[in-house]
């Protein structure tokens, strides 16, 4: 019963607050009146009676506060008072409010935007049911291996895909290139996503003789078929092979890549041994059965390795697949993005911290000018705790306003980020601002409000009820100086860390773009030519086709050289073959050498300007039936034949019998990526296109154009169609574009962190300026005395400057020390630069101290110009 009554009072107190307040006022007024009447009846003068009554009553404000306390709603009243008061204060001090709000909005906005990315990329569960049961099977990359696991595992369902690949699709203007993924029949079932409509693949899909079916993506369905329901049953012709469309996936489904426009069954035919046992192309993953631990699943997986090893149609090295393991699917997908995501989050967090310090500093500046107000309120009966709460409420109010603005800003910044981030950032398409992000922004805003309000609040608490005026000045001044020094040190330390990080990334980027590529970039145009399937399957037809295309291109005015390659430099396509080397024999069970292998036409060296160092290049005479020849790279020659002549040595593809002879050595070129081929590659070699190890699926065309390459780029599709009506042309780009695309990821990271560092430096400069200015204001009297006692204006100015520079220097050293420790986490992102790079560590302090010097200059001049007489009078 009682709690109902209490609830009633509480609700009444909250809902009818103003009525309760009115009643309380009336009650107190009635008391005063009755008391005054009583006193008057004793013969007192009515005015005197009233005064006496009020006197015995005590401080009304306090009584009301305590009554509210008794009713349990006091905090609401106070909050409302403080908020209204704070809001009025902020509206009055426009300059302060604008400075604080813009700082906060910028910092909260960028932190929120970056967090949005990190949250979606790293933290969110994958968009599949029970995603924690999904594991990636490391080192299970052969179809045969996968197939055995799929049909035999008792603890998990194994599924696989072949990544994404481009196909020729018949379009109105000849073939177009579209990308899709070949997947196992159970792919969708294991991931746990059913088609939006239609059906999934039949269990035998991909087996010999099974009907060819396809499932299309939502985007492709909308774009190609106008989202028509009757798409089911229609034919999709890919590389001249018809597939029946049996399903459409939901829009959110984007695995293995958002670029997959369709999924078709992966061919699983044990009789095609080369495909089944010989091509490392499979990404295998598993969904563990309920209650199965990853450890159990891994030991089952390992247990199968020797049995699969025995099934190979040829003998495999003993070390084959000994490293198989299961890795949580999400970790696998985001692996490469982890470090750079945390780096960006760290950068944003540092900017936020600097912003918090700046606003705290602004608030302290405010508090100094509000001293009279606080003293007055204290002497009217407010407790110092109450003042502290008020200051804290004001800061949170400010932070909330900053948070709202910041969230709006984050929407825009997120668009910028998505534009800037490397396109290979996993799950980029999923990124958007939602409830989680809003909650994060609110938490950041509140947290920073409490943080930057804490110091001013503590100072308000320590304020004593003293006579307004000069009484408390000296002690406050001492404390103020110490706080200011700490603030400046924090700011410069944070800014230093960011500047060092940005410096390392920029230096690394700089050395990456200045690394010798080994080939000519300017006035080279490249394109990818994809012949139809029957042509691509036959090396002779491909060569004949290239002959026709080459003739047309060479006839275009201004074209100096034309060449074809099996893949373009920097195309990030893996093109490795295993070779035996005649004079480097290996034990029978040991692995042979993996060579990066590019098939090229004779003009390749001249078109790309690659230097021939020794021997000869390929010639038209190197034909299918002539003696097999290879060119090798410079480092390969130095690695296998140091100090010896590599010409005439012989290598052999492991599945062939004939030896191929080294006829020349060419300069090293950046093939796979700007940092060279993958680490597991033993060497690089070239074969003539006529002697290619396998017929290339696509030909990378390379043309050096003397005049106006961009006009040539536009004309190229037409030229090629003139020579081959059934060829698709894609990726037409100048070599400059290709190169700049290859450094897109480090560039965007360097610029992003650089941007944050610039922001941090600007904020720190503003902070230093603010602190030093306040310091001069506070020390006006002291400086005045010094000047009056004969100090020169210059020395007064230097007094200000020196203390500022000391603080900055100290903060910078702290920042450098922290950066020294933190830099080691960035090692994986750096290229050609040590993580303790001298330049990156010595420039930031120099820059920061210069900036601090400039920021302290105006207050220093002001200090020098202080009029001693005036300052002593007013101070």
């Amino acid at each position: 019963m009682r709690w109902i009554q209490q609830l009633f009072f509480k609700v009444r107190a909250i809902v009818w607050r103003s009525r309760v307040e009115r009643e309380m006022d009336a009650e107190l007024a009635a008391h005063l009146e009755a008391e005054a009447r009583e006193l008057a009846s004793k013969g007192l003068d009515p005015v005197e009676a009233r005064r006496l009554a009020a006197n015995t009553m005590g401080p009304v404000e306090l009584i009301r506060d305590e009554c509210r306390d008794a009713r349990g709603t006091a905090w609401r009243e106070r909050l409302k008072q403080d908020v209204v008061f704070g809001a009025r204060l902020f509206l009055k001090n426009r300059a302060f409010t604008a400075a604080a709000l813009s700082t906060l909005a910028l910092a909260i906005g960028s932190t929120t935007a970056v967090f949005t990315v990190v949250d979606h990329v790293l933290l969110r569960p994958l968009p599949f049911p029970a995603p924690d049961r999904l594991h990636f099977a490391v080192d299970v990359s052969l179809r045969g291996h996968f197939d055995v696991l799929r049909s035999n595992s008792k603890l998990a369902d194994y599924a696989a895909d072949l990544g994404i690949r481009a196909f020729n699709m018949r379009g109105p203007d000849g073939p177009e290139r579209i990308t899709g993924s070949e997947v196992s029949a159970n792919f969708f079932r294991v991931l746990g996503i059913a088609p939006l409509f239609g059906r999934s693949f039949a269990d035998n899909a991909g087996r010999p003789g099974a009907p060819r079916t396809a499932i299309v993506s939502n985007g492709f369905w909308t774009q190609q078929y106008g989202a028509a329901r009757d798409v089911l049953g229609r034919q999709l012709v890919l590389d001249d092979v018809p597939y029946e469309i049996v399903g459409v996936m939901p829009a959110a489904f984007a695995y293995p890549s958002p670029e997959a426009a369709f999924w078709i069954p992966m061919r699983l035919d044990p009789r095609a041994a080369g495909d089944y046992w010989g091509v490392n192309a499979c990404s295998t993953f598993a969904r563990l059965h309920d209650g199965v631990t990853p450890q159990a699943a891994v030991s089952e997986l390992r247990g199968w390795t020797p049995r699969v090893h025995a099934m190979f149609p040829w003998s495999m090295p003993d070390s084959w697949a000994t490293d198989v393991a299961l890795e949580p699917m999400r970790d696998h997908i985001v692996a490469g993005a982890r470090v750079r995501s945390f780096l960006m989050l760290g950068a944003a967090a540092l900017v936020l911290l600097i912003a918090v310090v700046n606003v705290a500093n602004l608030m302290i500046g405010q508090a100094v000018s509000r001293r009279a107000e606080f003293t007055l309120r204290l002497s009217l009966g407010a407790t110092s705790g109450r003042l502290a709460w008020q200051v804290l409420t004001e800061s949170v109010l400010l932070a909330v306003a900053g948070g709202v603005l910041g969230t709006l800003m984050a929407v825009g910044q997120l668009q910028l980020l998505k534009y800037w981030l490397p396109a290979d950032t996993p799950r980029l398409a999923e990124i958007s601002i939602d409830r989680t992000i809003l909650a994060f922004a609110a938490a950041v805003a509140m947290g920073s409000g409490l943080l930057f309000g804490l110091l001013p609040a503590l100072r308000a608490r320590s304020q004593r009820s003293t006579v307004p005026g000069n009484g408390g000045r000296s002690s406050l001044s001492r404390m103020g100086t110490r706080t200011d020094a700490v603030l400046v040190m924090c700011e410069t330390a944070f800014a230093t860390i960011l500047l060092v990080g940005a410096g390392l990334l920029l230096h690394s980027f700089w050395s990456m773009v200045h690394v010798p590529l080994g080939y000519r970039v300017e006035s080279v145009v490249t394109a990818e030519l994809s012949p139809e399937r029957t042509t691509a399957a036959s090396l002779d037809k491909t060569i004949a086709l290239y002959g026709a295309v080459r003739e047309k291109i060479a006839a275009y005015p201004g074209v100096l050289n034309v060449a074809a390659m099996s893949q373009l430099p920097l195309s990030s396509q893996v093109a490795a073959n295993t070779f035996a080397i005649e004079d480097h024999p290996r034990p029978p069970q040991a692995p042979q050498f993996v060579f990066w292998t590019t098939a090229v036409t004779p003009d390749h060296l001249s078109a790309l300007g690659i230097r021939l160092l020794q021997g000869r290049g390929f010639a038209e005479a190197d034909q299918k039936n002539s003696g097999p020849v290879v060119l090798i790279g410079r480092s390969t020659a130095e690695k296998f034949w140091p100090g010896a002549n590599p010409i005439g040595r012989r290598v052999r593809l492991v599945w062939e019998d004939g030896w191929r002879t080294v006829v020349g050595v060419v300069d090293d070129v950046k093939t796979y990526s700007m940092t060279g081929p993958p680490g597991w590659v033993d060497g690089e070699l070239y074969v003539p296109l006529t002697q290619a190890t396998v017929p290339p699926q696509n030909l990378a065309l390379v043309a050096r154009v003397g005049n106006d390459p961009s006009a040539f780029e536009h004309a190229l599709p037409g030229i090629i169609r003139g020579a081959c009506g059934t060829c698709a042309v894609s990726k037409i780009a100048s070599m400059e574009t290709v190169v700049s695309g290859a450094v897109a990821a480090p560039r965007s990271l360097a610029w992003l962190v650089g941007g944050f560092a610039l922001l941090a430096m600007t904020l720190a400069a503003a902070g230093v300026y603010g602190v030093v200015s306040h310091g001069v204001l506070r020390r006006t009297r002291e400086i005045g005395i010094r000047l009056a006692l004969g100090a020169s204006p210059t020395s007064a100015g230097w007094l200000v400057m020196a203390s500022s520079l000391w603080q900055v220097a100290l903060g910078t050293s702290l920042g450098l020390a922290a950066a020294w420790v933190l830099a080691r986490w960035m090692e994986s992102l750096l290229y050609g630069v040590s993580s303790h790079d001298v330049v990156s560590f010595s420039l930031p302090p120099a820059v920061l101290i210069t900036v601090a010097f400039l920021a302290s200059l105006p207050p220093m001049v002001r200090a020098a110009r202080i009029d001693p007489a005036k300052s002593l009078r007013e101070g």
Binding site: G58, P59, I63, A70
Partner: protein, 109 residues
């Protein structure tokens, strides 16, 4: 300065309950009776009574009602509730036990 001097914490509510046990009173009347009954010993600032009244009302031991007194403005008159009567008995018993104990100590020492 807000607490009535020499009033043990919690005693104020006992006294208020005791005064209201006789008849319903306004806040001012309660404060006057406090002074009279204690022979002006409890020279509390009058205002400090009100938070206590509000708290007792919140606890449900007393109830305030707005009444028009002769010719004057409406005034809030407090009366004891049944729960308040029980509370009075309880607090009174506790007080007697406490003062007995203290007296015992003072006399034996």
């Amino acid at each position: 300065m807000s607490k009535p001097q020499a009033l043990v914490q919690g005693t104020l509510s006992l006294l208020i309950l005791k005064i209201l046990n006789l008849e319903p009173q306004t806040g001012w009347a309660i404060s006057r009776r406090l002074r009279q009954m204690s022979n002006e010993t409890l020279q509390a600032s009058h205002g400090s009574l009100y938070p206590a009244l509000h708290r007792l009302e919140h606890e449900g031991w007393i109830r305030g009602k707005w009444q028009e007194l002769e010719g004057g403005r409406p005034t809030k008159v407090y009366s004891l509730t049944p729960a308040g009567r029980r509370q009075l008995a309880l607090e009174r018993a506790q007080w007697e036990k406490l003062s007995l104990a203290i007296n015992g100590i003072l006399e034996s020492a």
